[in-house]
């Protein structure tokens, strides 16, 4: 609708810019992610949260306060409010519950209302700090790989794949520096309820060809996620959320081609014309003779009324 359509106009350009940043746009901002802790989380889980936060450093907020009253699987409203406050549409929440010591909820929102969320139980966590190898710079776009047939078959896993993609893909890039590949994240669906995550650093080695040989080095974080509850979006909500504006869709230019000389050509499609019925200047010499001697028939032009004509465009 635009900032100007507000009843109370922003007082200065700074507030106007802040409002414009938050309003819906054709080409959207990169999604912000909220990392926060619920009531009580073990040291390990807090470290896990920090590791995930560092993987997505540039478009995320790590909230330092504990949120003891939050339980996203039960009541999503406080999370929605938090998301609206920080203009974040992804969240990752860690807590300790009676049933699960290492509970984590990953979710996303559409228009500040819940779209989908998945609750996982984290086990076998190995932190980034545990691996001593050098890690890449923060904020690099990682290469993502998903292995296992479950990613396509299972509905919950399909949502999880989409969530993980949203979470870790970083900025939507148009160009990538070929020497800049530093991070690779692997998600393996061992079965329909278990996913293993591994993080590697990419080393480009000589291969004698233009394309380098890839060597991976395990740097973490490594964890096993066991799927618990999930709240998936209904089909029509997902459809609505995935709708793209017309301006972003690629415009196919039809009917324009270039000939050898570089001139732009187009095609005009005509109805069939009966050139025999054309009105022209009557020239006595070209009058039709009875004995059928006349070379040309009455009227002007020769050749059959073509269905198509190629015309040169300016």
């Amino acid at each position: 609708m635009g900032v100007i359509q507000r009843v109370v106009k922003p007082r200065n350009s700074r507030s106007k810019r802040a409002l414009e940043k938050r309003e819906p746009k054709n080409i959207e901002n990169t999604k912000q992610c909220l990392f926060f802790v619920g009531k009580k989380a073990s040291e390990e889980m807090r470290r896990c949260l920090r590791d995930l936060y560092s993987l997505r450093k540039h478009h995320s907020l790590h909230l330092s306060r504990k949120h003891p009253d939050m339980a996203p699987c039960v009541d999503i409203l406080p999370v929605e409010r938090l998301g609206q406050k920080h203009d974040a549409s992804l969240f990752c929440y860690v807590a300790r519950t009676k049933k699960h010591q290492n509970n984590m909820v990953i979710g996303r929102m559409f228009n500040h209302h819940l779209l989908d969320l998945i609750e996982v139980d984290v086990s076998d966590f190995r932190s980034l700090a545990k691996f001593n190898n050098p890690k890449g710079a923060e904020g690099t776009k990682p290469c993502l790989t998903f292995a296992g047939p479950g990613w396509e078959d299972d509905a919950a896993l399909r949502t999880l794949k989409s969530l993980l993609l949203d979470l870790f893909r970083g900025v939507e890039a148009t160009a990538v520096r070929l020497q800049g590949f530093e991070l690779a994240l692997q998600f393996v669906a061992v079965d329909s309820k278990t996913v293993m995550m591994r993080g590697y650093s990419i080393h480009l080695k000589k291969s004698g060809l233009r394309t380098p040989r890839i060597e991976l080095d395990l740097i973490g974080p490594c964890m096993t996620l066991h799927l618990q509850r999930s709240r998936l979006a209904s089909d029509d909500l997902m459809k609505r959320a995935c709708r793209q504006p017309k301006q972003v869709k690629a415009n196919r230019v039809k009917n324009i081609s270039k000939d050898v000389f570089g001139s732009r050509l187009g095609r005009i499609h005509m109805t069939s014309q009966d050139l025999g019925g054309l009105q022209t200047r009557k020239l006595k010499g070209l009058k039709k003779v009875e004995d059928g001697d006349g070379a040309d028939g009455g009227g002007g032009g020769g050749g059959g009324g073509g269905e198509e004509e190629q015309m040169e465009l300016e």
Partner: protein, 383 residues
């Protein structure tokens, strides 16, 4: 392309022959799904169960799996069209193929305003105006809007002509300022009217609209005023079951400090006292009253009855002659001195002559005994 292909193959064979490890070839790489825009590669083949179940072997298995997938992905990326910028080679990524949901809904185009509709109808096109306008009076380029426009205008209009039909004592500058204010208000009104029209909210053409978003307090104030606008000042208006009274009505009371010097309080209290109708000092009356009480008490004690205090039985007439006499003479009287614990008939030397002074006086406070009373010590009948 074909040339490089064959040469590549030759190279491959060579490198394979020399060192097997340096191969970039990934078997079955066409079975993988690529989304180069997201740098995503998906391997939908079933995993080797024996290796995934084995906690010792799983790490290396996953490592190899990842390596192959990433190699296949980056092979594809290296094939993309690339350009060189400042000694770095950048590959242009295509648009991502995986459809991810948006963050916010698609923005709706702004509906046209009343003027825009009219202009479209009439074919009026908006011509872009230059920021600077040549001003003949100031002989320079003056901004038409924005920074330093008003300063330039002030410079130009330092004097204003009073038109012939206008009141000579009218302030033309104030009038101009008023006109500008009205214009701004009119524009604002029209903007809001456009918004209301777009949101399908009805706005009356004349008059003021109510405040739709008034706070709870404002609404209850409005209710309060409406109620009190009756002939009986709201006394007989029926109330809703849970209706609460408005906060902030009624007289406000200033509460003073309890700390600090008590001068203000003292002053105020004295003022009050001075304003009061104080009864004239009846010393005799007071003395007699006291005597009476004492005598009564003494009597009762002698006779063994209850000592009541001020309010005694029989009107307090148990007074002996001697007591009267002794008081008139200024000697004390028998009985216990009502004082600071010295009572109970402990006779002391000379009787207290200053008894008279101590009775009554301005320090009489309420029902209590006058302050000086306590100093009377009795030595019975003694003289």
């Amino acid at each position: 392309m074909a040339d490089t292909d064959s040469s590549q193959r030759v190279q491959e064979i060579l490198t394979q022959a020399t060192e097997e490890l340096k191969s970039i070839k990934v078997p079955n790489d066409d079975q993988l799904e690529y989304d180069l825009g997201n740098l995503l590669v998906s391997n939908n083949n079933t995993l080797d169960e024996t290796l995934t179940r084995d906690p010792e072997k799983i790490d290396s298995y996953l490592h190899n799996l990842a390596r192959d997938s990433i190699q296949a992905l980056l092979n594809r990326v290296w094939e993309l069209p690339s350009e060189r910028i400042d000694s770095d080679i950048y590959a242009t990524l295509p648009k991502p193929t995986t459809r991810l949901p948006r963050e916010k809904p698609v923005p709706k185009p702004r509906p046209p305003t009343k003027w825009e509709k009219y202009a479209r109808e009439k074919g009026i096109n908006n011509r872009k105006k230059d920021k600077k306008v040549w001003d003949d009076v100031l002989k320079r380029w003056v901004p038409r809007f924005g920074y330093r426009k008003i300063a330039a205008e002030k410079e130009k209009n330092w004097v204003k002509e009073v038109p012939s039909n206008a009141d000579p004592f009218e302030d033309q500058f104030a009038k101009a300022a008023e006109m500008k204010k009205e214009n701004v208000a009119k524009n604002e009104f029209q903007r809001l009217r456009n918004i209301a029209k777009n949101k399908k909210i009805k706005v009356p053409s004349v008059g003021v609209t109510g405040n739709e978003y008034a706070s709870k307090n404002e609404l209850s104030m409005a209710m309060h005023h409406a109620k009190h606008a009756t002939a009986s000042r709201g006394k007989f208006q029926p109330e809703l079951p849970n209706e609460k009274k408005v906060k902030g009505l009624g007289k406000k009371r200033k509460i003073e400090f309890t700390t600090g010097s008590g001068q203000v309080e003292k002053k105020r209290n004295i003022e009050v006292l001075e304003k009061m109708d104080k009864p004239s000092l009846n010393l005799d009356g007071a003395i007699h009253k006291e005597i009476r009480d004492e005598n009564v008490a003494m009597d009762l004690k002698r006779k063994g009855g209850k000592v009541y205090g001020r309010r005694s039985k029989m009107g307090g007439r148990h007074r002996t002659k001697s007591d009267h006499k002794s008081l008139k003479l200024g000697t004390g009287f028998q009985g216990k001195g009502k004082g600071k614990g010295k009572g109970k008939g402990k006779p002391k030397g000379k009787p207290n002559v200053g008894a008279k002074k101590k009775i009554g006086g301005p320090k009489m406070q309420g029902k209590g005994r006058p302050a000086g009373k306590g100093k009377m010590k009795g030595k019975g009948k003694g003289k």
